[in-house]
Symmetry: C2
Subunit: 127 residues, 2 copies
DNA sequence: TTGATAATGATAACGCATTATCAATTCTGA
DNA sequence: TCAGAATTGATAATGCGTTATCATTATCAA
């Protein structure tokens, strides 16, 4: 919740890109998308703002197996993700199958879970 | 399936450690465990044998969200994992909740999933 | 036992994502 | 409009997991 925050063109575009993407983005993906609006935008600025927005609670980190951290607008409280095996992009899955904690073997106390689906996104399913 | 494979003490111990651990191990964990038997064992040897055993299909890689790759003996065809929030260790969960692919939104074609449970392992639940 | 060679250990090197540095630029309140 | 401070861009530096290098050692078929 650091406050001396200025509204720079770069910051606006980064947030807008994350917002309109509607899916978790890698720093590199975000950089590329934002570059379309602000050609000179540097990768360091992407990381700086990502961290800043994360600290403010505006963004949340998304970790998938074997993948680098992605970031998305904090919206739905608990949901899962779908990764396309073809293009590698990650999408939100609205909803949760519910309690999966009962799968824990005896002696284990489960209090949470992460689920990732794999397959083809609409774009890649068509092709 | 490279064959000129010799039975070295190091290789024996590494396989034995993975086998008796009964859970996925990080290269570093494996190194530490194996060191107990072969004090001079180097980390490079751990990585070399991990890759070799993986190529031979004796081991399989285990990727969890935000974690480095772990390795375990290839046994159960499809199962999931439990990570302890306290000690960080990863354990196998026998069984699978079944098809979760139906959660995919319209337009998406899901053909697989990964599931990780979080909580406390028996050791840490006791403490 | 021996010779050919695979394997090892120590460590330098690498790849890659992320962060620090710093001069130049841009905001913003006064 | 202006000064002070935050922000940016370019890039060097960092951290860390993994791999390459190479001299030495161990394995194993003959």
């Amino acid at each position: 919740m650091s406050f001396p925050e200025r509204s720079t063109r770069q910051r606006q575009i980064l947030l807008a890109a994350l917002s309109s993407a509607g899916r978790p983005l890698l720093p590199g993906e975000l950089h590329e998308i934002a570059r379309a609006e602000v050609p000179g935008l540097g990768i360091a600025t992407v990381y700086r703002n990502l961290k800043l927005l994360l600290d403010e609670g505006i963004l949340q980190a998304v970790n998938l197996p074997g993948e680098n951290v992605r970031y998305e607008i904090r919206a739905q409280p608990h949901h899962h993700h779908f990764q396309c095996r073809t293009c590698g992009r990650v999408f939100d899955i609205p909803g949760c199958p519910g309690s999966l904690e009962h799968l824990a073997p005896a002696g284990f106390i489960a209090d949470g879970h992460e689920l990732t689906l794999y397959g083809r996104c609409p774009d890649c399913a068509r092709a």
